[in-house]
């Protein structure tokens, strides 16, 4: 048998190398996964939108509060210390939420 004949024989033999998917519920399993992912994706999109809105509202509220604290004189309160305390708390909350959002985005990353 020469090289061309061998190649021809191999080509004919290889036509029998298709292995059919042996699992009868394969199609349904895949479609179920896709449907579940679609629902989870749209839910997570809504959650991300909501969390961004609340984060923005929280930042705005914190900035307004900081401003008000620096402007108004509170009776019986050492203004300077209270202002500093409020600003430290605000900065801590801000840093914490930025960290949470970064972690959330990182978690969502592989799913996309």
């Amino acid at each position: 048998m020469n090289k061309d004949q061998k190649q021809e024989l191999l080509a004919k033999i290889m036509k029998n190398s298709l292995v059919e998917m042996p699992f009868s519920d394969f199609d349904d399993q895949v479609m179920l996964r896709i449907q579940q992912e679609t629902v989870a994706t749209s839910q997570s999109r809504r959650d991300r939108k909501r969390s961004s809105i609340f984060f923005a509202l929280g930042c705005a509220a914190g900035m307004i509060l900081s401003f008000l604290l620096s402007v108004y004189q509170w009776e019986g309160v050492q203004n300077g210390m209270f202002k500093l305390f409020a600003q430290v708390v605000f900065a801590t909350i801000l840093v914490y939420f930025v960290y949470q959002i970064k972690a959330f985005v990182k978690y969502q990353g592989p799913a996309q």
Partner: protein, 181 residues
């Protein structure tokens, strides 16, 4: 046909994706089996590949061939699964000796017998050789298309195919001699 169903999916008809499952699952399973050598793992690979393909349909360039794009996903997923399961692709570069095969013996086999023999032989080849043979002969892909699916260079594919053809004939010969004993 592919573009019609892609349009349907883009328009929100998720069920239209079943067309792709029907058309491509068998070849995808064969490709996955070439690499992972286990039916249950291959099923897992193909399932993950279809889900990934659905997720990334918006990244698929409509003027390209869907099969090339999808089989690339299957191949990458199969290789990733091998890595995850910590199974190494140990390519010993086995050189089989006897590659002279009795053509008449081959043709005398029933379809199912021949199919089993061929798939048993492919199981014994390395993942690369088995994959290259299936893509080249079964899908009748050109060397260039095999390269697009696997990421291998044309020169590398030619070397793998050359080795794979030789080894395939040898393994078939060995299996048929074993059968006769």
């Amino acid at each position: 046909m592919d573009s019609i169903y892609l349009r349907k999916i883009r328009d929100g008809d998720t069920e239209a994706f079943r067309y792709f499952l029907r058309e491509y699952k068998h070849m995808a399973f064969s490709i996955a089996l070439s690499v992972v050598k286990d039916e249950f793992l291959a099923e897992e690979v193909v399932q993950n590949a279809f889900v990934k393909a659905y997720r990334n349909l918006d990244k698929f360039h409509r003027d390209a061939k869907f099969s090339t794009w999808f089989y690339r996903i299957v191949t990458n997923e199969a290789l990733l699964t091998l890595k995850r399961k910590k199974r190494e692709i140990i390519d010993f570069g086995m050189e089989y000796k006897e590659d002279i095969i009795d053509e008449n013996q081959i043709y005398s086999l029933q379809y199912e017998e021949l199919s089993n023999l061929v798939n048993e032989a492919l199981k014994q080849l390395s993942p690369k050789e088995s994959l290259a043979l299936r893509l080249f002969y079964l899908e009748e892909e050109s060397v260039k298309s095999v390269g697009e699916i696997t990421g291998w260079s044309a020169a590398n594919i030619k070397v793998i195919l050359h080795r794979a053809r030789k080894n395939m004939m040898c393994v078939l010969n060995q299996l048929m001699n074993k059968k006769d004993e």
